[in-house]
Subunit: 214 residues, 2 copies
């Protein structure tokens, strides 16, 4: 079915659908119509049906959607029907926070190692995940199947490391450094810019009490 190119807007919404369906599942809701879901999610029913139909018909006329089935199917679309091995580059606060966040494993994301330059951190463990020297990074990647590298290191080092990582075969980068990273090749980069997010918040806060000029 999936022939036409899926738009970025649709992809951005998929995890949100997945989350809401997961919540419904926890509440033992068996079926839901696009209309009901649209009210919960604050979107139009039309958009939900359009979005889902990018990937095929998951519903049934007169009935709606089976929550469990739709949840599973969106999970498959999101690639959650397999496991991912993750390494974290940078054992600072954010890197440690990610390592400690055990919820990712429930979704199939396994953190296998953390790397840092700081000798005082190397050798320590977080939830049984060892902090290793960055010098071992290349070797580790060569000997382990690593799907995703999370970059939680300073901006100044991010670009060089990203380039090394892709050279060593990493295809997925989850970048938390406050700089954009993009590769024209087949490397997928997902950026998380916390500072940007905070600025959007301050924009909206300021907008509120900004006097309409002229």
């Amino acid at each position: 079915m999936q022939n036409k190119k899926i738009s970025k807007a649709v992809i951005n919404r998929l995890p949100r659908y997945y989350r809401y369906l997961g919540d419904l599942l926890e509440k033992d809701v068996v079926r839901i119509s696009s209309k009901e879901l649209s009210e919960k999610m604050n979107v139009t029913a039309s958009q939900i049906r359009q979005d889902l139909n990018n990937f095929g018909g998951f519903g049934q006329q007169g009935y709606g959607y089976n929550v469990e089935y739709l949840h599973t199917e969106i999970g498959k679309i999101l690639g959650l029907d397999r496991k991912y091995n993750i390494i974290i580059i940078g054992a600072g606060n954010l890197g440690q926070a990610l390592a400690n966040y055990s919820d990712f494993e429930r979704r199939g994301f396994y953190i296998k190692a953390i790397f840092d330059v700081n000798p005082r951190l190397i050798g320590l463990s977080i939830r049984g995940i060892e902090i290793r020297s960055i010098d071992e990074l290349e070797d580790f990647i060569k000997h382990n199947q690593v799907d995703i590298a999370a970059l939680t290191l300073p901006k100044s080092k991010a670009a060089q490391l990203a380039s090394d990582l892709t050279k060593w075969g990493i295809k997925g980068l989850w970048n938390f450094a406050p700089t954009d990273i993009h590769f024209p090749q087949d490397v997928i980069v997902e950026n998380v810019h916390l500072a940007d997010s905070l600025m959007k918040l301050s924009y909206k806060l300021s907008e509120k009490d900004r006097p309409a000029d002229n």
Copy 2:
């Protein structure tokens, strides 16, 4: 000038412009044309000019844009020409990571306190920021000017706390809990969903090796 409603797409791009202009400033670049900037940022020059013209004419024909001036002006638009007091609700790993991230202060975001329910954490300090009991939260807000509350607590507690916080007068929520929070009122919510971000990454990784069907 700013009369027409600014679209969400434009707002999302503003922090990115701000970031790139900051980088240029660090490299002592004095002026830049929309064309040069568009090449650096991987967008069209047209889009840059359209975006900026939502807020007024910051450039000069035949010259381009003065980097420092534009940086300052976008900063003002983003509301970075004032200070914000932040409190963090939830002193878990992510809350501690945010508290430790001193860079926010450079942009005018000051973390004033952290709150948690865990007695073993209460009383500790992170970078001089005290971890307090959640019982003191209401009182603290009443006696201090708090602009933003960062929610780094479990999903199960996020909704109730968000509702309390707004009752006590908080107008800005920076939500890291894996659940959507929205208030129809004048409360601004900015959601950071790390799990969603990771799922987008796994989508794109899976898409790559997904066989084009039929």
